[in-house]
Symmetry: C2
Subunit: 390 residues, 2 copies
């Protein structure tokens, strides 16, 4: 062999050498997991010859209560544990392995998403809803992580902004959807778990959603940014943050609108603004849209954490009925409520709908199977984004 060939081989094999023997930077296993089969069943595999028991936890598996069930995988003579599902409906799914009682990510699947303090593997089954969550050959928007100044919170804060394909080379003004996360989430939640960029790219390309800017802010007033993205360092994410549902974030919201309207070509009017959020973000959307009752023509409450007779003191929660009624009088185009049948917030949402009915405030309602899950929130975003700005 000549010298350059030897060097090229070295370049490949040294890298492989790292993998097996040393730095574990690369994964050389030939195992495929997950494998989506032609009938939309899915096969999982993991090499664990010495393990006593390997289970898979997956959000499609039946369980006693809410959430994910688990099933035991089978060991073959080569030390590979495997499991094949029944055919699955098209969607995005999440799972983990449990090897001898220890939760483990699938070492052959690099597609992982953090949800608060846990990381799980994901895969997509195509042919339906899952297509909306996939990257397809369509024009792609831009996703930017920026920092804005919030005078109300005296902080520089991180924000994720999706601009639709063509934004940069147009002179058009675009409408803006402000999209808020739930408790324990942050400005990464909707873009990672929510597949916002894929959903919007696809719906816009299909002509089903109007090209819009989506602004994903951080709703934890005490935080500057997602865990690891602020000077507080790579700390363990914490679900229980101060000042999450006490009016602080809500009253700082005009800082975000003002940043967006000063920095992007947007329709700076009620008709060009939507606000929606999941769980705590639904709570925030409810209160922000009511407290600033002439700001949003489109409101989306996704499994909203509605707290009847809110006891926390804040000017935001005072005069609830008055401001809601003011919002009603000012008019709006879409007031949208989505909730899963087994969501622990189902009753609170039913009560809230009764209140709306009693004052004759119109809303669009979607009731889905399942509970307080990202599966539902991706569906709600897909539905809501097709209705607004039309």
């Amino acid at each position: 062999m000549n010298k350059p060939t030897v060097l090229l081989i070295l370049l490949f094999t040294t890298i492989s050498y790292y993998a097996v023997a040393q730095q574990s930077l690369w994964n050389n296993s030939q195992l495929v997991s997950p494998q989506i089969n032609n009938d939309n069943s899915v096969t999982f595999r993991v090499e664990a010859p010495g393990a006593r028991e390997v289970k898979i936890i997956g959000d499609w598996l039946p369980s006693a209560g809410q959430g994910s069930g688990s099933v035991t995988m089978k060991l073959d003579e080569k030390g590979i544990w495997s499991y094949t599902t029944t055919p699955l409906a098209s969607d995005l799914y999440s799972y983990l392995f449990v090897i001898d009682g220890i939760k483990t990510n699938d070492p052959n699947n690099v597609y992982q998403i953090r949800d608060v303090a846990s990381i799980f593997n994901v895969f997509i089954v195509k042919g339906g809803k899952g297509d909306l969550y996939s990257v397809n050959d369509v024009p792609h928007g831009t996703v930017s992580r920026r920092w804005y100044n919030s005078p109300s919170l005296s902080k520089e804060r991180r924000i994720t902004i999706y601009t639709p394909a063509g934004y940069e080379n147009s002179k058009e003004k675009f409408p803006v959807l402000y999209l808020l996360h739930g408790m324990g989430g942050d400005e990464e939640a909707w873009i990672a778990l929510g597949r916002t960029a894929q959903i919007l790219d696809n719906l816009i390309a299909q002509g089903k959603a109007r090209p819009m800017i989506v602004v994903m802010s951080n709703g934890n007033a005490s935080q500057q940014a997602a865990p690891g993205e602020a000077s507080t360092g790579m700390h363990k994410p914490n679900m229980m943050l101060p000042n999450t549902m006490d009016g602080t974030f809500e009253t700082s919201f005009p800082d975000i609108i003002s940043f967006v309207e000063q920095n992007y070509r947007v329709i700076s009017e009620k008709k060009g603004r939507a606000i929606a959020g999941l769980s705590m973000g639904g709570f925030h959307s409810l209160h922000i849209s009511r407290f600033y009752p002439n700001t949003f023509d489109h409101v989306g409450l996704f499994s909203a954490a509605i707290m009847p007779d809110q006891q926390v003191k804040s000017k935001v929660y005072d005069k609830f009925d008055e401001t809601l009624s003011q919002q009603q009088k000012n008019g709006y185009k879409i007031y949208w409520i989505g909730i899963g049948k087994t969501d622990f917030l189902y009753q609170a949402n039913a009560d809230f709908r009764k209140k709306l009915d009693s004052i004759g405030m119109k809303y669009t309602y979607l009731e889905t199977e399942g509970g307080h899950t990202w599966t539902n929130w991706r569906t709600y975003l897909s539905e809501f984004s097709q209705l607004i700005f039309k």
Copy 2:
């Protein structure tokens, strides 16, 4: 308890319930791992009461060859395995656990980075180099994932672009560093593994680097985007891609420059352009800067995969000496070479330096400890970015 209090408790506890019993979406463990101690030693912990042996693989541990060594952790009576390092020099480190022979990420550390087809945990020890890789209270630039059209490759392609703090609200024109990844990498490599945004934010804030735009393209001509970010789906990342070092990417490079210069406020002259890359990206930088010999005033070869007497046929590799000499005659400000003492490309780089010496082509040279590692590449970026555009 009143009704709202009950609901708020439900909101917290239902979520906790998921964690333990069901959906594993949240990690409720009180364990802290890694824990950076006051003397810069680091303690790792993992709960695995039934395990027979738990090891940690880390890139600071001594090993027989290049790469990372491993060490066995100790089990306590509560089923927690732990290990404490000696005090570590300030840097960013990576590690994994091996539980009964199975490689596992640290379930208590959500900070993970993908390198080609493996995911490993990371942590930062501060007080030196590690400070440069940390998010500090300084003005932050914007990181955007965009798509550009490459007529030469007949593809829409994804690209990562860092614009320095203040870019959006200034009228100034900025210089551009084109920063290229290695084999198996993509447009996510430098921003994730390279900590480019943190390094530039910090060096610019300290007045040590000039505010610049950093363009991180995908150097695999056959790819549109990083794994999972193109319509090829969530496939297993592959090290062995076609058309990586055959002139295809190099001759498509003007598409990237032209996209950047049409879409950003930049200094569209040689003095405002730098190109640098690691390993394969160093190879690309060497050839692109030579093949377009009047385009870049600053060139950085980081552990460059220099292939003497390149055998692959491409007009890019023809007339090597002539174009190198032309680049020399045209003049440049910085030609920078960095390599680790134990890098398998050390000799190829030494030979290349001899060639440069023989024709009197000036360069700046940095030789570091260690081999073909991100630890070195982060150092090289930190050094190189302080020298350019001055």
